[in-house]
């Protein structure tokens, strides 16, 4: 994993995002206890509404956990508050170049720790979920989410529950009250299809959710605040897509391909709650784009034209994090682009709709109609769209054990890949991080052979 250290420390944006992702506990604690703000549990990219209130903080619950390396990151966090993140990054880069061994070790540990500690924590949450009684037949994501809530639901004032096509997801949301019955559950139903006045019904559902949130917040919901947030979140989405399509699809990367995959993985996880602070997240991701472009302009990075572009998907419900490293070693570069496949990176149409609630309803309807909704034909078209846009050479489909939803579209997708894209694809099964690395290595080895 030290492979990535050299690269990541030169991106202060990456360092900041990593820090905010896994060292967020103290900040969240402060917000809750000192500033009397309400933490609201979210999962999947459904945090936007919460930013319509001054005192509601969305949190992807794993971020409330204590991570092993957060001590080091806390030092960096403290240093950054005095020196600024850019300077911290430069100092780290300088120290690394100077080869000072002890400090080097610390830096490696930090970067390594970001990924490893996250993975360890995910597995720990998985075990807690299973101990709690969730059947082992459910997917990694739901087991870990149950674990996260068993562990930290006591800290949240509410959970925000969007019902989607996945019945296991909806039932998992229903099950949250069995973990802690006094935590408010705020439901937002997305109609399965855009027929008749379904969008108006969704708007009304959103308004009901806002009313429920007002009760928790104690503040009235503000159209202006929500509209302002949507502008910020649209900027995040555009920058995210720039990283995917401008940088990810290019032949020169600002870092090695495994590092780039690592950054995409960090984005995928942190996008769910914007690390609890959308403006800061927007600044970080924008800076990330700038830093990447700057490095490319200066020729710092790596010519990746000979590395085959491999779209690895879906990974948002859990995947083997070694995948991109293995692919890199085999001459490929792994791209994680789930949120765009599911249309969560489309703009909230705030410029064409003056009412932010209406705009959000259109956004959710679009994601349902064209992405995560009830039609595998449409969903697989979206996979093909993204693969074409990226010009990928192959697709690795991550078939999540126990996933009865997105993972089940592989047969249809495989047929389309063969007919429409004429590129190879392979499916990998995934159950728990680290469980199946040998098989993953073997299968990816055989797959990557096809490009030689």
């Amino acid at each position: 994993m030290s492979l990535y250290a050299d690269e990541i420390i030169r991106f202060s944006s990456v360092l900041k995002m990593s820090y905010n992702l896994i060292a967020g506990r103290d900040e969240l604690k402060r917000k809750k206890l000192r500033e009397k703000k309400h933490l609201i549990s979210v999962a999947l990219p459904f945090s936007d509404l919460l930013f319509g209130f001054p005192n509601l903080i969305p949190v992807f619950p794993i971020r409330m956990e204590v991570f092993k390396v957060s001590k080091y990151l806390s030092y960096l966090g403290s240093a950054s508050s005095i020196l600024g993140w850019d300077n911290v990054s430069k100092i780290l880069g300088y120290v690394k170049n100077a080869g000072i061994e002890d400090v080097n070790k610390v830096i490696d540990e930090i970067i390594e720790g970001v990924i490893e500690t996250l993975n360890e924590k995910y597995n720990e949450m998985y075990d807690i979920g299973v101990e709690r009684g969730i059947s082992s037949d459910f997917c990694f994501a739901l087991k870990t989410l149950v674990g996260m809530h068993v562990s930290k639901m006591k800290n949240v004032s509410a959970t925000i529950n969007y019902s989607i096509r996945c019945s296991a997801w909806n039932k998992y949301l229903e099950s949250l009250k069995s973990i802690k019955s006094d935590v408010t559950q705020i439901w937002l139903d997305i109609p399965p299809r855009n027929i008749g006045n379904a969008i108006e019904l969704l708007e009304d559902n959103i308004r009901h959710a806002l009313t429920d949130l007002e009760k928790i917040s104690g503040n009235s919901y503000s159209d202006n605040q929500l509209r302002e947030h949507f502008k910020v979140s649209n900027q995040i989405r555009r920058d995210y897509k720039t990283i995917i399509y401008e940088i990810g699809a290019s032949d020169f990367y600002p870092c090695n391909p495994a590092t780039f995959s690592e950054i995409l993985a960090l984005l995928s996880i942190s996008f769910q709650d914007y690390n609890s602070n959308a403006k800061r997240y927007a600044e970080n991701i924008h800076q990330m784009v700038d830093e990447m472009r700057e490095r490319i302009k200066k020729g710092i990075g790596m010519d990746v034209s000979k590395y085959h572009k491999i779209m690895v998907t879906p990974m948002f419900g859990g995947w083997e994090p070694k995948t991109h490293e293995i692919i890199y070693k085999l001459g490929g570069r792994a791209l994680y682009v789930d949120w765009d496949v599911l249309h969560f990176l489309d703009d909230i149409p705030i410029s064409s709709k003056s009412d932010p609630v209406e705009a959000y309803a259109y956004f959710l309807t679009n994601a349902t109609e064209n992405g995560i909704g009830c039609d595998n034909n449409v969903l697989t078209d979206s996979y093909v769209r993204v693969a074409e846009k990226l010009g990928v050479d192959g697709i690795v489909f991550n078939q999540l054990f126990g996933c009865h939803s997105v993972s089940n579209c592989y047969r249809l997708l495989k047929d389309k890949i063969r007919k429409e894209l004429e590129i190879p694809s392979i499916s990998l099964t995934f159950n728990r991080i680290g469980d199946n690395i040998e098989q993953v290595t073997t299968r990816l080895g055989a797959f990557m052979e096809m490009f030689k």
């Binding site: 969730i134 996945c166 559902n205 009901h208």
Partner: protein
């Protein structure tokens, strides 16, 4: 009637329907499908309610991973393998893709796409509130349009009322059957047959009830009475026999093939009211609080109902009923909350067996052992 004869009769029945110009629309969804609308259009609603086996499940693996609900796997297997007993599935003209659960979506889409069966759509929201009722009406209107496209004429309210009345009478008859104190397997087989054939089975059902009114059992002391909840027992499944072989008896089928279907009747007042047929469907949907499709109160409602049934039984007999929660492997709806379900009912003194299984023959012995051990614990 034994299973081969039942399927053979049903095959004949469907062929006759076909010959008389009736179209057939099949569906996997366990709930909320307005079958009366199809009937009013002269389309026969065919429920996929057939149990599976290893061979059928394996046949589905070309399309879906093995970690898919065993029932969905078997349904796909029926279309892929076309076993001779189920040849009548070749007569299916349309398949309804619905979202009872995500396996319903995926399985139904596969059946329509890979077995070239034209698709009809009918989706239902997960959350229950006023807006979901309004959305349900939108789906009804859309479904009406789809059906009218098939029959190339308008579906009139009069026709629809006629079908609503027909199905209502049929369900009331099933409720009457349900109130008889018959051995569970006997009752289940009639319920299965009736639900398969639909209202045209009304006369046979009436005859059966009349012929069996005097043959009710009074063996409460020797049989361990249980409620079967969770997933349905489908046609050709042996589970009810295993329960009886172990000394148990299912007194209440709290499942889709069972009370959940026939308890959704309209009252006389509703039928005589000024409600349009679509208002009636929305009303039924609204009252359907025990649908496993719904969130967030489904399980609490179910638990409340089971406690009520048990209390009434206990008042009569002084004993608690047992509850067998039948979970077909990889069923999202009944598996996710099974621990909570058991915990809650046990607080009320009701012993619960969470019985998870797929359709492989090899686990029959293990199922027997678990059921026997469970029944031994009951009073």
């Amino acid at each position: 009637m034994d299973i081969p004869n039942l399927l053979s009769d049903f095959s004949q029945f469907l062929r006759e329907k076909k010959q008389s110009g009736v179209k057939i629309a099949a569906f996997l969804a366990h709930d909320n499908i307005p079958e009366e609308m199809m009937d009013a259009c002269g389309i026969f609603p065919l429920r996929m309610m057939f149990g599976g086996n290893e061979e059928l499940m394996n046949a589905s693996h070309d399309y879906l991973p093995p970690s898919t609900c065993a029932f969905t796997q078997s349904c796909i297997g029926l279309f892929a393998n076309k076993p001779s007993k189920y040849r009548f599935l070749e007569l299916v003209d349309y398949f309804i893709v619905s979202n009872h659960c995500v396996s319903d979506i995926c399985g139904s889409e596969i059946i329509t796409k890979y077995f070239n069966i034209p698709r009809l759509n009918f989706y239902v929201t997960y959350t229950k509130n006023e807006n979901s009722e309004k959305y349900f009406r939108l789906e009804l209107e859309d479904f009406k349009r789809q059906l009218e496209d098939i029959i190339k004429s308008k579906l009139t309210d009069d026709k629809l009322y006629e079908s609503i009345n027909k199905f209502n009478k049929f369900k009331q008859k099933l409720l009457e059957l349900n109130s008889l104190n018959l051995i569970g397997s006997k009752k289940l087989r009639i319920i299965q047959e009736a639900m398969l054939f639909g209202p045209s089975y009304h006369k046979k059902l009436t005859d059966f009830i009349e012929n069996n009114r005097d043959k009710q059992i009074h063996q409460v002391d020797t049989l361990k009475n249980v409620i079967l909840t969770g997933c349905s027992i489908f046609i050709s499944d042996y589970l009810v026999d295993l329960i009886e072989d172990a000394g148990g008896n299912v007194v209440f089928f709290d499942t889709w093939i069972g009370n959940h279907y026939f308890s959704q009747v309209f009252s006389k007042e509703e039928l005589n009211s000024s409600l349009s047929p679509y208002d009636l469907f929305v009303q039924r949907y609204k009252k359907n609080i025990l649908s496993d499709h719904s969130v967030p109160d489904f399980l609490d409602n179910k638990i409340a109902q089971l406690v009520k049934i048990n209390n009434s039984y206990k008042k009569k007999t002084g004993k608690n009923l047992g509850v067998i929660n039948h979970i077909i492997k990889f069923c999202d709806h009944f598996s996710m909350l099974s621990s909570y379900f058991k915990e809650k009912l046990q607080l009320d003194g009701i012993k619960v067996l969470n019985l998870e299984r797929d359709y492989s023959g090899s686990n029959r012995g293990q199922l027997s052992t678990r059921i026997e051990a469970y029944l031994e614990m009951l009073e």
